[in-house]
Amino acid sequence: MSSEQTNLKPKLKLAVYWGSACGGCCVSVLDTHEKLLDIVAAADPVFWPIALDIKYKDVEAMPDQSIDLTLFNGAVRNSENQHIAQLLRKKTKILVAYGSCAYMGGIPGLANFSGKSEVFERAYVETESTKNPERIFPVTEYPVEEGTLKLPKFFNDVLPLNKVVDVDYYIPGCPPQSERLIEVFTAIVSGAQLPPKGSVVGANDKTNCDECKRTKSENKTIDRFYRPWEIQDDKETCFLEQGVICMGPATRGGCGVRCVEGNSPCRGCYGPPPGATDPGAKMMSAIGTMINADNPEEIDKIIESIVDPAGLFYRFSLPGSILGRKVQ
């Protein structure tokens, strides 16, 4: 887009925030490289903790609906994440759950296999580098001479953004591909007709196999599953046909099949295709179908080679799945 155009229009106000995130999503925005200049030309970042020193109180001071676009990355893990999510919702016209964590819970979402107490126990007592015989755990309020120190409350569950606030769009990926971000951004800036609220944008409707260059056939019966390091990949045949679980067929395209191009099976960060109610269940169903055995014992034996189905099929999506978390 030319600078001339942007001059004609008022510049958009852009916010980027990280909740429970690794920072990769913020970096993906920077990974637009020279295109970042175009972004900055079209939009003013008004809040971006990784890049700008703007305090929460500054945001609170902004008028409602004054931010045009917020890319919220990271899951909601604690009361701080929740507070900012709600705050940004109030201040923002288009709130985008950016990246797998905000979309479905992401890698932090794996903490939903346990609960707060187990997380604390591990983090503050059990970790090999910790010595905490008094079992001191973080508390939300701690009185000191100067006053009361406050910490955000750590939630029991990791939540995707849409369980806390209303979300307009989702851009999946861990992190989202920078090219996809630019496409979406361009569309918003150009004022094009936007898809219905709640849509996943910056990703394809078809799943990854559509773009995958590996040879595929109908021969998808599996006698034993292999973890990627257990097998010499021939680099040509469909991973599934070699017995390696690749989430490709149940994962939206849009990433450019980068993992498979790098000879690693897809792990599903782009999430399920449209129509799938649950991110892992369709793949589980498909994989179950491929098991090449009829009697229960043989089936069990083959399933033994899928060591951790929950972690495998819901690597990026447990909090956003039907069950959401391990039963407590």
Partner: protein
């Protein structure tokens, strides 16, 4: 109120559903805790359906198909079995007790067996208490 377990059952049209109908025509009484959903073949049953039932508050989920070898669609029940086995591994990981999710073969002539199965499962669920899937999903955080 005392606990009344609710079982969502997926029955294939040709064997299990017909078997359940037979229990009716034979007036074999069984526990009223089951809610039957008819599908054409157990091979159509997806993990999604079962997870959905648990999410909606089912205390137990029962899947019934034709006996091995008797599938109306040749081998849909084997496919069901394979998917079920994998799903079972997953649901166990997710902390859903094994007895809450059952796969049984019921033929069109096994009305009595079906009734016994429902009674048995109801009894088991009564002793286990309500499923915690739904309550686990009720998160505590909002409005902190």
């Amino acid at each position: 109120m005392d606990f009344r377990p609710k079982i969502v059952a997926f029955l294939c049209n040709w064997c299990a559903y017909t078997g359940a109908d037979l229990a009716g025509t034979s007036r074999i009484h069984y526990a009223p805790n089951i809610r039957i959903i008819r599908i054409m073949c157990s091979g159509r049953i997806e993990p999604t359906f079962i997870l959905k039932a648990f999410q909606q508050g089912a205390d137990g989920v029962l899947v019934c198909g034709c006996h091995p070898g008797d599938c109306h669609y040749q081998e849909g029940n084997y496919k069901c079995l394979r998917r079920f086995k994998l799903l079972q591994k997953f649901t166990r990981q997710m902390g859903i007790e094994k007895d809450r999710l059952r796969l049984e073969w019921i033929s069109a002539s096994e009305g009595k067996q079906f009734a016994e199965l429902v009674n048995d499962m109801t009894k088991t669920l009564l002793s286990m208490g309500p499923s915690k899937v739904k309550s686990s999903l009720e998160v505590e955080h909002l409005n902190v």
